[in-house]
C-alpha cells in the first residue's frame, strides 16, 4: 500500500490523518499484507469465519 492510497482510504471515512500517520499506515499494512499473502492465498474456497468456532468445539476436551 502506498501513502497516497492509505491517505485516501482514511479520508474516505471523514478522518484527517497526519502525514506521519499516513506513512506509518502504509508501511505497516504493506508488511502485514506481505506476511499474510501466502497463507491467505492458500485458503480453500470453503473456509469461512465460523469455521473457527467449529474448530474450537472440535478441539475441546
Amino acid at each position: 500500500m502506498n501513502p497516497t492510497l492509505a491517505k485516501t482510504l482514511i479520508e474516505e471515512h471523514g478522518v484527517q490523518p497526519s502525514p506521519t500517520h499516513v506513512e506509518a499506515t502504509a508501511n505497516i499494512l504493506t508488511s502485514l499484507f506481505k506476511t499474510t499473502a501466502q497463507p491467505f492465498a492458500r485458503l480453500p474456497l470453503e473456509a469461512e469465519p465460523a469455521g473457527y468456532l467449529a474448530e474450537q468445539r472440535r478441539e475441546a476436551p
Binding site: 492509505a6 506513512e23 506509518a24 491467505f40 473456509a47 469465519p49 469455521g51 468456532l53 475441546a60 476436551p61
Partner: protein, 467 residues
C-alpha cells in the same frame, strides 16, 4: 490479624479468614485502602478509589451471612467494566464522564460471590497498547522498577496486585493485555479461552479477540475467580454454552503424567539468557512433579500475529470511527495512529484473517496438542522495556517496538487458547520473569492445575517488591 498479615493473604486465604472470623471484611478493607493510599503516589495504579462506599459495603458484609466464596474480599478492576450509571473511563478522555449503560455480567457475578469493589484501575487508553502507558491519566509504574513498563493494557490491575494494594482484579486481553502485565509485574493470571467468559458490559475493543479474565496473587485465586465468572450469558451471544468444570476442586490432582511441551521453534528466538534459564528451571520443577517434558515443533506463527493485528485494528477502527471524525484530538498520538491504520484495511484482508482462523487452530492443535497437554513458554523473551524506550508517537518504528512485546502472546489471542501465567523467577536486575501454560480450547482446568502445582513447589509468586 495485623494489617501486613491481611495484605499478605491471597483471595482464597482472605475469604477463609473472614468466613472463620479470624479477621473481618472491614479490617481487610481498611488494610487495602491504607495500602492503596500509600502506593498510589508512586505507582499511579488507581483511577478512582471509592473509600466511603467500600467501607460501608464491608460493614454490611460483616453483619450478613456469607454470600459466596469471595464474601468480604476487596477487589478493584481495570476501568472498563461497567457499573450502571457510573462512569467507566476506559482509560480515555472521551468516556471520562459517560455513565455506563448497564452493569457488566462479570461484576454481577463477583458481587453475587460477595466480593466488594473498592476502586477502578489505570489501563492503556481504550485497552489499545501493550506498554500500559496512559497519556491522559499518567503512566502506571511497575512496582519492581518504576522506570520500566508495567505491561498493558491491564497495567493498574497487575501493579496494584503486585504492590499488595489489591487482592485480585479483572483485566482484559485482546493481544496480551492480561498476560503481559502479569508477567512484567510478577502476578498470576488466566486468559480464558475465547468465548468462555461473558463480555457483556465490558468495553469492546475487538469482538473477535476480546477475552475477560482475572489477574491474581496465586493460580488458585485465578481458578476460583474464573470459576465464578465463566459460563453462558444470554447478554453475550458469543459466550459459549458449555458448562463450566469445577476448576478449584481439580487443582490438587497430581500433574504426574501430564505432557508439557517445550517449543523447539519461535518462542525462544530473541530470548534473553535470564529468561531462558528461568524457563529451563521451571521445566525442571514440572519434571520433578512427575510431568513429562516433551520437545514439540510449533507452526510459524508470524502469519497468525499479522492476521490478529488485521482483525483487531479493523474492528477497533470501526468502533472508534465516529470519535476519530469528531474528537480526534482527544486520543493520544499512539492510540490514534493505531486506530487510523484500521480504517485503511480492505474488507477482503479482514475477512481472510477471520477465514484463516479455523485452519490455524486446527494446524496448531494437530502439531502441538496431539503430542502434549500444555505448551510451556515465556510470556516475553525480552527484558522489560523502559518507559523512555516506549514513550513514542505512532510510527513504523513504534509498531516494531510494540510487536516485540506482544510477539509471544498475540498468536495465542488469534487461536483463542486458554493461558495461565505465573512468575518463574527474576532477571539479574530484579525484574519478574513470567511463564505461560497454554492449553487446548476450553481446557483451562489442566493449565490451572499445572500452574497451581508449580506454585506449590516454588516461591516466586510470594516475593514482594520493596516500595
Amino acid at each position: 490479624m495485623s494489617r501486613d498479615e491481611i495484605l499478605a493473604l491471597s483471595c482464597t486465604q482472605l475469604a477463609a479468614a473472614i468466613r472463620e472470623r479470624r479477621t473481618s471484611a472491614v479490617a481487610a478493607m481498611e488494610a487495602v485502602l491504607e495500602r492503596a493510599r500509600e502506593v498510589q503516589p508512586k505507582l499511579n495504579c488507581f483511577l478512582r478509589i471509592d473509600e466511603a462506599q467500600a467501607l460501608e459495603a464491608a460493614r454490611r458484609a460483616d453483619r450478613q451471612p456469607a454470600r459466596g466464596p469471595l464474601h468480604g474480599v476487596p477487589m478493584a478492576h481495570k476501568d472498563m467494566y461497567y457499573r450502571e450509571g457510573v462512569a467507566s473511563s476506559c482509560g480515555s478522555k472521551i468516556l471520562r464522564e459517560r455513565p455506563a449503560p448497564s452493569t457488566a455480567t462479570v461484576l454481577e457475578r463477583l458481587d453475587a460471590a460477595g466480593a466488594i469493589q473498592f476502586g477502578v484501575l489505570n489501563m492503556t487508553e481504550f485497552a489499545l497498547g501493550p506498554t500500559g502507558h496512559n497519556w491522559h491519566y499518567g503512566h502506571c509504574r511497575n512496582p519492581w522498577n518504576p522506570e520500566r513498563i508495567t505491561g498493558g493494557s491491564s497495567s493498574g490491575t497487575a501493579a496494584s496486585i503486585a504492590a499488595r494494594a489489591n487482592f485480585a482484579g479483572l483485566g482484559s486481553d485482546t493481544g496480551g493485555s492480561i498476560r503481559l502485565p502479569a508477567a512484567l509485574c510478577g502476578t498470576s493470571a488466566i486468559k480464558p479461552t475465547y468465548a468462555r467468559v461473558s463480555r457483556a458490559g465490558a468495553m469492546p475493543l475487538s469482538h473477535s479477540l476480546d477475552t475477560v479474565g482475572p489477574l491474581t496473587r496465586t493460580v488458585e485465586d485465578a481458578a476460583l475467580i474464573v470459576q465464578l465468572i465463566a459460563g453462558p450469558d444470554h447478554r453475550d451471544p458469543t459466550c459459549d454454552s458449555k458448562a463450566v468444570p469445577n476448576y478449584v476442586s481439580g487443582l490438587d490432582v497430581s500433574v504426574a503424567g501430564i505432557r508439557i511441551g517445550r517449543p523447539r521453534q519461535h518462542f525462544y528466538d530473541e530470548c534473553e539468557p535470564d529468561v531462558a534459564r528461568a524457563m529451563e528451571a521451571s521445566l525442571e520443577v514440572f519434571s520433578r512433579l512427575g510431568a513429562q517434558i516433551v520437545e514439540v515443533d510449533v507452526p510459524d506463527f508470524a502469519a497468525y500475529s499479522a492476521a490478529a493485528v488485521l482483525i483487531s485494528t479493523a474492528e477497533a477502527a470501526t468502533l472508534h470511527r465516529e470519535w476519530l471524525r469528531k474528537r480526534a484530538a482527544d486520543y493520544s498520538d499512539q492510540v490514534r495512529g493505531r486506530l487510523l491504520q484500521g480504517l485503511a484495511i480492505p474488507a477482503t484482508a479482514y475477512i481472510d484473517a477471520l477465514r484463516m482462523r479455523g485452519a490455524a487452530l486446527a494446524e496448531f492443535c494437530a502439531q502441538v496438542f496431539s503430542k502434549v497437554d500444555l505448551l510451556h513458554a515465556p510470556v516475553l523473551g525480552i527484558p522489560a522495556p523502559t518507559i523512555a524506550e516506549t514513550e513514542l508517537g505512532w510510527s513504523e518504528r513504534t509498531a516494531a517496538v510494540l510487536a516485540r512485546i506482544t510477539r509471544l502472546t498475540r498468536p495465542g489471542s488469534y487461536l483463542g487458547l486458554p493461558t495461565v501465567c505465573a512468575s518463574a523467577g527474576f532477571t539479574a536486575d530484579g525484574m519478574p520473569i513470567g511463564l505461560q501454560l497454554v492449553g487446548r480450547p476450553f481446557d483451562e482446568a489442566t493449565a490451572l492445575r499445572a500452574g497451581h502445582a508449580f506454585q506449590g513447589a516454588t516461591e516466586w509468586h510470594l516475593r514482594q517488591p520493596a516500595l
